[in-house]
């Protein structure tokens, strides 16, 4: 921008006329910069206080990659044990294949070994005395000695000797850990295995059309029930994904939010009338009720949840109680503030025709505040659907607890992903539901 041409007299006049612009205090001129420096210094302090660099340096970052891969893919993890000169596959994780299934990437060989295929040029030929590792078509034989597996000379970087075992990485396709008594194979595939039916189910391994055909026209697989009901049963009781359990836990979370908010609404409604200064005239009573609301609110939902979990045991009841207690405080406060803002004219009108006090409130006050009350309750319901997940994790039941358990085992990250997707879906649905109801109650501006 160009300089403005101002003569001395004008300059004096402007300086005198707008002192607040030209003579601002130190804080006004440099406040933002000082605050920025203070924040920066504080962050630098926290950076060392929380040991950020050591924590990140010591993090298991390869684990992160594995867990994130688990979100969209699955691992088959057979252990190929060496027993009496034979190789015996042993399944540890979630029974991803039924006994004796023909697996196209894990084939027995004629000499009592197994071939594990990772790609067209990558594979393992496992025998108890030697494991032939093929990477990009080249052979690297790993010899099995009495107590260790030995890395061959000239092996590529994807093969590493780790103490007495040899680790081989095949990228996304998986990895193998060759030991003196077994080969621990991880084979990774896109998608979620056995998501619909586990290996025990007669529907396992069939295509969508085949399952649909069976359900609609097929003969009864189980004489006791029809095919669709058998399919539903198999789906809900899926051994590795536990759909039934997860859905019921999700239901618990929803029930916690619904019943908790509802009870809070029902209790806060009459109490708010007591707390509102313009409705109940006794000041000590107003004050007492407001402090009671503060008390309920200031003890965190977490503390209530932990307390009630100790009393009732884990499950939705402590969750309901925790939401009920905190929200009675929060809603009571909001409601009483809404009540204190009502237009007095309508009450006077009802009073003037000689109505009883209860009727005055019913027709003079409630119609004014009801939309606000309902809207606030819906708001809380919506936000509680989210909080219910969090307090579930501290033991109040619901999908939060299930989520935390799955995360703690460190093996079920695909299940975690599944539950997170369900939670996101439910939160999305309930946000929209509550928004729609709210805008119906309040008119368009209500959201």
């Amino acid at each position: 921008m160009s300089n403005l041409a101002v003569n001395a007299a004008d300059r004096e006049r402007l300086l005198a006329a707008y002192p607040e612009v030209f003579h601002r205090s130190l804080m006004q001129r440099w406040g933002l910069a000082i605050a920025a420096v203070a924040v920066f210094v504080y962050l630098a302090f926290c950076f060392s206080f929380f040991n950020v660099i050591p924590t990140f340096a010591n993090g298991n970052w390869d684990r992160a990659a594995i867990y994130l891969q688990d979100w969209y893919s699955w691992r088959a993890q057979p252990r190929l044990r060496f027993q009496n000169g034979q190789v015996v596959p042993q399944w540890t994780s979630r029974r991803q294949y039924p006994d004796g299934a023909a697996i196209d990437w894990l084939k027995p060989t004629s000499n009592g070994g197994y071939t594990v295929i990772f790609g067209s040029d990558d594979r393992l030929d496992v025998t108890p005395s030697q494991v032939d590792v093929y990477i990009d078509g080249k052979l690297y034989p790993v010899a099995i000695r009495g107590d260790r597996a030995v890395l061959p000379a000239g092996a590529p970087a994807r093969m590493v000797q780790d103490d007495n075992k040899v680790n081989v990485r095949f990228g996304f396709a998986g990895q193998a850990e060759i030991r003196n008594n077994q080969v621990y194979v991880q084979r990774r595939f896109l998608g979620w295995a056995n998501f619909f039916f586990d290996t025990q189910s007669p529907f396992w391994g069939r295509s969508v059309t085949s399952v649909a055909g069976l359900m609609l026209f097929g003969e009864r697989l189980d004489p006791a029930q029809s095919n669709p009901s058998l399919a539903l049963d198999n789906f809900l009781n899926n051994g590795s994904w536990q759909h039934g359990d997860i859905l019921s836990k999700l239901m618990q979370t929803l029930v916690m939010a619904f019943v908790g908010t509802l009870f809070a609404t029902l209790i806060a409604f009459p109490l708010a009338f007591v707390a509102a200064r313009n409705i109940t005239t006794s000041r000590p009573v107003n004050w007492g009720m407001k402090r009671f609301f503060d008390f309920l609110r200031s003890i965190d939902m977490l503390i209530w949840a932990l307390f009630f979990t100790r009393a009732f045991g884990p499950g939705p009841l402590p969750g309901i109680a925790a939401i009920f207690f905190t929200d009675t405080g929060a809603l009571g406060k909001v409601y009483s503030e809404a009540l204190e803002n009502v237009d007095d004219k309508q009450r006077e009108g009802v009073k003037s025709v000689g109505a009883a006090p209860v009727i005055v409130q019913r027709y003079g006050v409630v119609p004014q505040v009801l939309p606000i009350f309902i809207s606030q309750s819906l708001y809380f319901w919506e936000s509680n659907t989210r909080s219910a997940t969090a307090i579930g994790a501290v033991g109040a039941g619901g999908i939060g607890l299930k989520l935390l358990e799955s995360m703690k085992t460190n093996a079920d990250w695909d299940k975690v992903a599944y539950m997170v997707l369900l939670i996101l879906l439910v939160v999305f649905v309930f946000d929209n539901l509550s928004n729609a109801l709210r805008s119906r109650v309040m008119g368009k501006k209500g959201s």
Binding site: Y42, L43, C46, F49, F50, N51, V52, T55, N58, N60, R63, A64, Y67, S248, Q252, V255, M256, V259, S298, I299, D300, M301, L302, I303, L306, F307, R310, A311, F312, G313, G315, P316, L317, P318, I320, A330, K333, V334, E337, Y379, F380, S383, R386, S387, T389, A390, A393, V394, G397, G400, L403, L404, M407, N410, V416, V420, I423, L424, V427, F428
Partner: protein, 326 residues
């Protein structure tokens, strides 16, 4: 009251008024039926929910209710002074060698002779988690919000993408992020900081861009007319208008984040939440009460301080109930 009136009172009405009255009463009847039906449906849903909750719970409500106070009884500390001994890590006369009364071992020594009581130290960690993640989250939200508002960004695609990013960050459960990071970085405050920051970006970003959208566009037009760039328009036309609201929302978020970092602590994010869930799980009454008192005082102090700061910075307008994006 029109509802209470019987037809007899209206016998003298003309035919046209009669029709209107009939119609009105018809509507009242329909409405009543709807009310009754919806109340019945509501009660059925409520009853079913309660029954389901009771069945799903590990202890049944009416079975456990008589024992409810038993549990509270087990939480009576030996003496009121014991709470303060636990709070300040002073030696207890009840010490029997168990961890329950061994408060002094938790002291955090700064120098050879000066220590911070453990709970205060843990509380400081929790509060610092909240503050750091609010700063990080607010910075992220600040950088994103201008790209999400209709009045500043012409490209619908940018806006759509940024808004969806915020939505996902906001809806993603904090405990999942914390759990994933705890598995990688081991349990501690850093997982909590990242989890809370991520959530804060989403929650504050939404509030921020709504403020930006409500800004007066006249200053912007003025700047545009004098040929200012997009950055200059944001800096000189929008920012001065929205900054007070941004500060207010950030302070409100600090309060929420203090609670959030306590909860994450309880599921393995370090800080006072972790100590709290341990002490309540192990029946350490005095310790539990000490922590509850500390938490209460902290939450009240943070609320009051942030209310005071907001009032000083922007006056009364900032006092809408700030739970919206919790």
């Amino acid at each position: 009251m029109a509802h209470a009136a019987g037809p007899a009172q209206f016998s003298g009405l003309q035919e046209s008024s009669r029709t209107i009255l009939d119609h009105y009463q018809q509507q009242v009847r329909t409405r009543r039926i709807y009310t009754v039906v919806s109340i019945v449906v509501f009660l059925i849903v409520l009853g079913a929910s309660l029954d389901f909750a009771n069945e799903a719970n590990s202890g049944k409500f009416f079975e456990r209710l008589p024992y409810f106070f038993d549990f509270l009884k087990s939480f009576v500390p030996n003496s009121p002074l014991e709470i303060f001994r636990a709070m300040f890590d002073l030696p207890s006369p009840y010490a029997d060698g168990s961890i329950k009364f061994d408060y002094t071992s938790d002291r955090v020594w700064i120098t050879d002779s000066f220590y911070i009581p453990n709970f205060f130290y843990q509380l400081a960690i929790t509060i610092n988690i909240a503050i750091v993640s609010t700063i990080l989250g607010a910075t992220g939200a600040f950088l994103l919000c201008f790209f999400a508002s209709t009045n500043l960004v012409g490209a619908g695609l940018t806006r759509w993408v940024v808004r969806r990013i915020m939505e996902i960050l906001r809806a993603f459960p904090e405990i999942v992020v914390a759990g994933l990071l705890a598995a990688i970085l081991s349990i501690g405050p850093i997982a909590a900081i990242i989890a809370v920051s991520i959530h804060t970006i989403g929650a504050l970003g939404k509030l921020f861009f709504e403020v930006v959208e409500n800004a007066d566009m006249k200053p912007d037009e003025g700047l545009r007319a004098s040929g200012a760039s997009w950055l200059e328009r944001v800096r000189f036309a929008i920012l001065p208008q929205v900054l007070p609201n941004f500060v207010s929302y950030t302070l409100l978020r600090t309060e929420i984040n203090v609670r959030a970092s306590t909860i994450i602590g309880a599921v393995g994010g370090g800080g006072i939440g972790e100590v709290f869930s341990l002490s309540i799980g192990r029946d350490h009454a005095a310790k539990t009460y000490a922590i509850i008192i500390l938490l209460l005082v902290t939450v009240i102090c943070v609320d009051q301080f942030s209310a005071w700061l907001r009032r000083r910075l922007i006056g009364k307008q900032s006092f809408e109930f700030g739970r919206g994006a919790a």
